[in-house]
């Protein structure tokens, strides 16, 4: 039975059949109106509630994630600041150790200098020789007025005067000599003064350095306190720092991947001589996998080396080793790395030979072997460059550990932030969908009523008539009473 068979109640007239169906359906819809309204509204409400509950769950999850992100961020910030403060204290310790170890020598040096200066000073304060005692007597005699016309007295006085002048001149000369000697002593004091000044300047520099470091530590401690308190400012600062670190580290890692790719190309071809060029593992050439493994081993060794040197802290086990073992590990990883770098240099050399062999074969097959002899004159440059790259790249890849650590640490924060943003969007979408479903429920109710507008209109008219009649009868009753 087709739809047409059911629809065509009056076989000859489509319009009449349609009208009958319209009337029948309108009556059915009108009769089922209340239940249909309730059904539509309940259905839309239940879906709205489901979406609302989902949005609520997502919000709770987002809140948990925000707290977790905050904790991770603060923990990382705390750890990083602790490390920096620790380093600053280590530097202060080194400075203090260095200066304090020199302090006894400095003290002795200053003492010696001061003693020398003291002695020189004492030497320089020696009084000039006093004039002879009889000078006063002579002066007294000289003051006696000369007797008139007594040449003897005059002569005596003249003699006294001369001897007095002579004695004075001698005393003055001696005084000058003594002064000159004092000046010489004072002049000799100058280098000692300079030495003292130099020593004190050195002390001043060390003290200033310590003061500067103490200011840095003060600032770091302030940041550390902020992180411990979990202030908004510290969170903003750490979050921004994480984002920056993530992108910078990602950029450096991309460069490192480029380096690793070059390294791979250097050794993949000669590896096919060692492990065969036809074998495949999971759709990849075994030689390519072997080359990749060598590069990954080099990167791993680089990570261990950096870890042993305490430049990175990706493996707490290595960081917790005692210094003796750690230094042993540094040497072991370095030796392995050096050996692998040497192997790579050898493989790079081998690659050049193999490439030449390939070129020779291709040229022979093409029939242009003469060209090869011309081209091969400057090949040693590329050979040397390849060997150099083969040796240097493993060591260069060692430093991947530093951006890798930053990338991993910052990725936790960045992923957390991205997930929070995603959950926020999801929550918004769920809320919007829930509200849309509820609104659609109301719209459907109106659409339903629109479909049965005719019986509804009749109902409305009848209600109005009934209302008028009842109002009229009520008013007549009131009039009768009155």
């Amino acid at each position: 039975m087709t739809f047409n068979d059911v629809f065509m109640l009056v076989p000859s007239s489509t319009g009449l059949s349609g009208a009958i169906w319209f009337v029948v359906l309108t009556i059915i819809f009108y009769m089922a109106r209340n239940h249909a309204h309730k059904g539509i509204l309940s259905f839309s409400e239940s879906i709205h509630n489901a979406f609302r509950l989902s949005a609520r769950s997502v919000k709770l999850l987002r809140d948990i994630l925000i707290i977790r992100n905050r904790d991770v961020l603060l923990a990382q910030g705390r750890e990083a600041t602790e490390r920096i403060i620790e380093r600053e204290f280590e530097r202060i310790d080194a400075t203090v150790r260095k200066d304090l170890s020199e302090y006894p020598a400095l003290h002795r040096h200053l003492n010696e200098e001061v003693t020398v200066i003291d002695e020189s000073f004492k030497d320089s304060t020696d009084v000039p020789p006093t004039p002879p005692a009889w000078v006063k007597a002579v002066e007294a005699v000289a003051k006696i007025p000369a007797a008139k016309g007594d040449p003897t007295v005059g002569n005596i006085l003249e003699d006294i005067h001369q001897s007095l002048v002579k004695s004075s001149t001698r005393a003055l000369e001696e005084y000058r000599k003594a002064s000159s000697k004092r000046h010489q002593i004072l002049q000799k004091m100058m280098p000692h003064w300079r030495n003292v000044l130099k020593a004190l300047t050195q002390v001043d520099k060390s003290v200033n350095s310590l003061l500067a470091r103490s200011v840095t530590i003060d600032r770091l401690m302030h940041d550390y306190e902020d992180i411990l308190k979990g202030t908004e400012k510290s969170q903003r600062m750490l979050s921004s720092s994480s984002m920056t670190q993530f992108f910078i580290a990602g950029f450096v890692l991309a460069i490192a991947v480029g380096g690793a790719f070059i390294n791979f190309n250097l050794i993949a071809r000669p590896m096919s001589e060692m492990v065969g060029g036809a074998d495949m593992i999971l759709g990849f050439k075994t030689s390519s996998i072997a080359a990749l493994v060598i590069i990954l081993v080099e990167i791993s060794l680089g990570l261990f080396l950096m870890e042993s040197l305490r430049i990175t802290r990706l493996f707490p086990v290595i960081g917790a080793l005692d210094d003796k073992m750690r230094i042993k590990m540094v040497w072991i990883t370095f030796v392995f790395l050096f050996a692998l770098a040497s192997v790579e240099a050898g493989l790079a050399y081998m690659r050049e030979i193999l490439m030449e062999d390939d070129s020779a074969t291709s040229a022979a097959l093409r029939g242009d072997g003469a060209l090869l002899a011309v081209e091969s004159s400057a090949l040693w440059i590329t050979t040397a460059a390849q060997m150099g790259l083969g040796f240097i790249l493993p060591f260069a890849l060692t430093f991947v550990a530093i951006p890798l650590e930053s990338f991993i640490h910052s990725m936790r924060t960045v992923l957390g932030t991205a997930t929070v943003a995603f959950l926020r969007s999801l929550e918004w979408v769920l809320r919007v969908l829930g509200n849309l479903v509820r609104s659609f429920g109301k719209i459907f109710v109106h659409v339903y009523d629109f479909l049965i507008f005719l019986p509804l209109g009749i109902e409305k008219l009848l209600n109005k008539e009934g209302g008028k009649k009842s109002t009229a009868s009520a008013s007549s009753n009131i009039g009768g009473v009155l």
């Binding site: 096919s272 065969g276 060029g277 193999l354 062999d357 093409r366």
Partner: protein
């Protein structure tokens, strides 16, 4: 979940992965096998310089693990004696290069000393090629026919047997037009059509490359 269960779970995941990979069907080796038939009958011997070019090109394209053989088409080509040179390239690319050079020398020597044959048994050559490539066990097989495709069998030779060329690619190279083809081109077209039918009914893929400047299409597969 107990921690002790983790290794078993990992094992199950790995086992499932391998079972999945096994269930995809038999693994086809990634190696290539090429068998080239060189028509040495009548005037076609003049075209052998072109054949040398094709051989050199194929040699330059093949790698370690691949197999290559060149055979002449003469009166009775279903014979190992007609194989001029054959090789399966060693794993080490440098050794493979040496093998290529030796192979080339053999072909050069053959081209210099070749004598034309009276009959042309192409079907026998194809049968020999199928046998060789099946024995080589290569994954992707190609039979190159360097000929005008005009088969002339000696009396008594039976070659109306179906070819089993499933997963094979048969490429006709340098199919020169004969004088009779010029008079009636239908002959040429019929000849090509009959070979196409023969190859495709055996499950193979048929191609014709007459432009020797487009050698890169030889080893391409559809």
């Amino acid at each position: 979940m107990k921690i002790g269960h983790k290794p078993y779970l990992i094992f199950l995941v790995v086992a499932a992965f391998f079972l999945q990979s096994c269930s995809d069907g038999p693994q086809v080796p990634n190696t290539r096998g090429v068998y080239m038939l060189m028509d040495t009958s009548g005037t076609y011997t003049k075209e052998l310089k072109q054949a040398q070019r094709v051989i050199n090109y194929v040699l330059s394209q093949l790698d370690s693990g691949d197999s290559f053989a060149v055979a002449r088409v003469d009166t009775g080509s279903f014979s190992e004696k007609d194989i001029v040179a054959k090789v399966t390239f060693q794993d080490q690319p440098s050794k493979a290069n040496q093998q290529k050079r030796v192979f080339r020398q053999k072909i050069d020597k053959f081209v210099k000393t070749v004598k034309g044959s009276a009959y042309t048994d192409i079907t026998g050559g194809i049968l020999q090629g199928i046998e060789f490539l099946n024995e080589a066990g290569t994954g992707h097989n190609t039979i190159l026919i360097f000929s005008d495709l005009k088969e002339e069998l000696r009396k008594g030779y039976k070659r109306n047997i179906p070819l089993s060329l499933n997963q094979y690619s048969v490429v006709a190279l340098n199919v020169t037009k004969l004088r009779s083809d010029n008079i009636d081109p239908k002959e040429y077209l019929d000849r090509l059509a009959s070979w196409r039918l023969k190859v495709e009914s055996g499950g193979g893929e048929w191609r014709v490359i007459n432009d020797m400047a487009r050698l890169e299409k030889i080893l391409q597969r559809k």
